[in-house]
């Protein structure tokens, strides 16, 4: 690791009935590093990061952020720690517009006395949305009044990413951020990831697309059958090495 860990996960366990999704996994995330987690389907990557995001409750394990132990019981707990997640299935609200999605759960409230009546500051949220999208060079003409469900897939993904980046002060977790995107859109997403790192925000990225992983990551963690099987600096790692680790060394040798 290049910098001190600000997230330390120790002995994380999650079972679903008899299925051991995550079995006693330790994970450190350094300040400002891009950590990639790779592994086959069902290897436990998503479950592991969802425990950090507050979307899955661990059966056992301890999470420390900045040296302090924290119980992350729901997404809001993770948010309060500056940890934002972009989920595989987007987790945008298709029936809300861009502005409402960007500010969902953190709406800007109107001044008193309207704040007392739970009234939101719509104009202010629209202005801030415009500003944030401009900073990220994301061009979406309809930020208000048009549900995001009627935007294109690329536009929706950029809204989801913008929402995470705008609020993540410490860490962005991306679960397959480029899986549903074309080449140009994927490159734009990767570019955003780099810029987030330049800001000093850590990134955890789960991806099946190994060239993307090798292009971006500072460090790579490989999971197999719920267990961490490798944790290595990305420097010098080849795609073949990764594939062997993902499917299991022996198996790869035999079939080769």
């Amino acid at each position: 690791m290049t910098s001190p860990a600000f997230v330390e996960m120790r002995g994380m366990v999650k079972h679903y009935g008899t299925i051991r999704a995550v079995e006693n996994v330790d994970l450190d995330i350094g300040q400002g590093e891009v950590l990639a987690i790779v592994g086959d389907n069902g290897a436990g990557k998503s479950t592991l990061v969802k425990m950090l995001a507050g979307a899955v409750h661990p059966d056992a394990g301890e999470i420390k952020v900045d040296g302090e132990p924290h119980r992350i019981r729901e997404p809001n707990d993770a948010r309060r720690l500056g940890i934002e997640t972009i989920y595989q299935d987007l987790a945008l609200l298709p029936n809300l517009d861009v502005t409402s999605n960007l500010f969902l759960g953190r709406e800007r409230m109107a001044e008193q006395p309207l704040r007392f009546l739970n009234v939101v500051a719509r104009r202010r949220m629209r202005a801030e949305t415009r500003e944030h999208l401009k900073e990220l060079s994301i061009t979406i003409p309809q930020i208000s009044g048009t549900p995001v469900g009627s935007l294109s897939g690329g536009q929706r993904q950029s809204v989801a990413i913008a929402r995470a980046i705008v609020w993540a002060s410490k860490l962005v977790i991306m679960d397959e951020p480029t899986a549903a995107l074309g080449v140009a859109q994927s490159q734009a997403v990767l570019d955003l990831v780099r810029r987030v790192r330049e800001r000093g925000t850590s990134v955890v990225i789960i991806s099946h697309i190994l060239p993307h992983v090798l292009e971006l990551a500072d460090r790579i963690v490989v999971m197999r059958h719920g267990v961490k099987v490798a944790d290595l600096p990305a420097e010098g790692v080849t795609q073949d090495t990764l594939i062997e680790l993902i499917v299991g060394y022996e198996k790869a040798r035999r079939s080769a």
Partner: protein, 354 residues
Amino acid sequence: MDATGYGSAGSTEPAPPVVAGPDAAAVVAAPLSPWATGWRSLLLRPEMGLPLITLLFGVYLTFASQYFLQYQNILNITEAVAVLGIAASFATVVVVSGGIDLTPVTVEVMAGIVCLHALNAGVPVPFVVVLALAAAAGIGLLNGLLIAVGRLNPFIVTLGTNFLFTGVAYVVTSGNAQLIPNHAFQQIGQSRLPWHIPTSTVLMLGTFALAFLLLRFTRLGIHVYAVGGNEDAARLSGVRVRSVKLWVYALSALAAGFAGVVQASAGGSVAPYAASSSNDLLYILAAVIIGGTALTGGRGGVIGTLVGLLLLGMINNGLALKSISSFYQPVVTGIILIVAIVLDELRRRVRQPT
């Protein structure tokens, strides 16, 4: 924290900005489909179809009967749907949240019974109203707790509480209609404001205005749409889903309780069999659906419900003016309901050609 106690969670300050290069603009893909922006969408918009039908029906009635467009007749239509409307306004909010409330009519009767007993005990009228609303909110909170905290299906929960409190209404009244001979109380539902405007009409419009403002301008309103759109995504986005659900069922029952006060006052009596034998619940749901609110949640609003309600009122009124048996009213209502759903489905298929 605000008056509703419905606050936000988590940090609300954005992280420092990320400076992106011009190449990030490539994230943007194809422009919006013409359906979303073109003038053609006007005709396919849910908020345009229903008012058009209502307007055409109004024009027809104007020519069909010389009495229809008279000031007094229009007021009569609004007065006739006032009680239904007060309950339907916040029943719409429940449907937008992806749930359903089958208890409004039962809550109306229960609120009426509370009025009856409180008035008999000599409680002043304003406090009688407060007591009735509190009882109604209690039923709503019971619904909300079972649905939000117990994670039970709203249809089944409110079907259950509907039976439960209908039974309670029969028990405490011994199954008899009871008169409420209190002049001051009757003013709520029977009095007329200047220009002969019925007070109940104004109360209905006021309730609709509250529901509209709630959905349009408050955080709770945004979250109601979010929960109705996708409950899991809403939860992951930091919406307090349980709190939202508690609020919508409590508010729906509160509105239904208010409708019950107006009904008991306007009728000067309360009857337990109103909860089990009237079609009011079905008319409330019909107004919500005709008004373009999707039963799947996340889409619609109270303006549609108000227009849908006026359309139902006009049908009833038109049949009466033409001296056609009121037995035909359910027939016409049923046809309109089915046409509304077919139109809605067509709209969605046109928008998502998959």
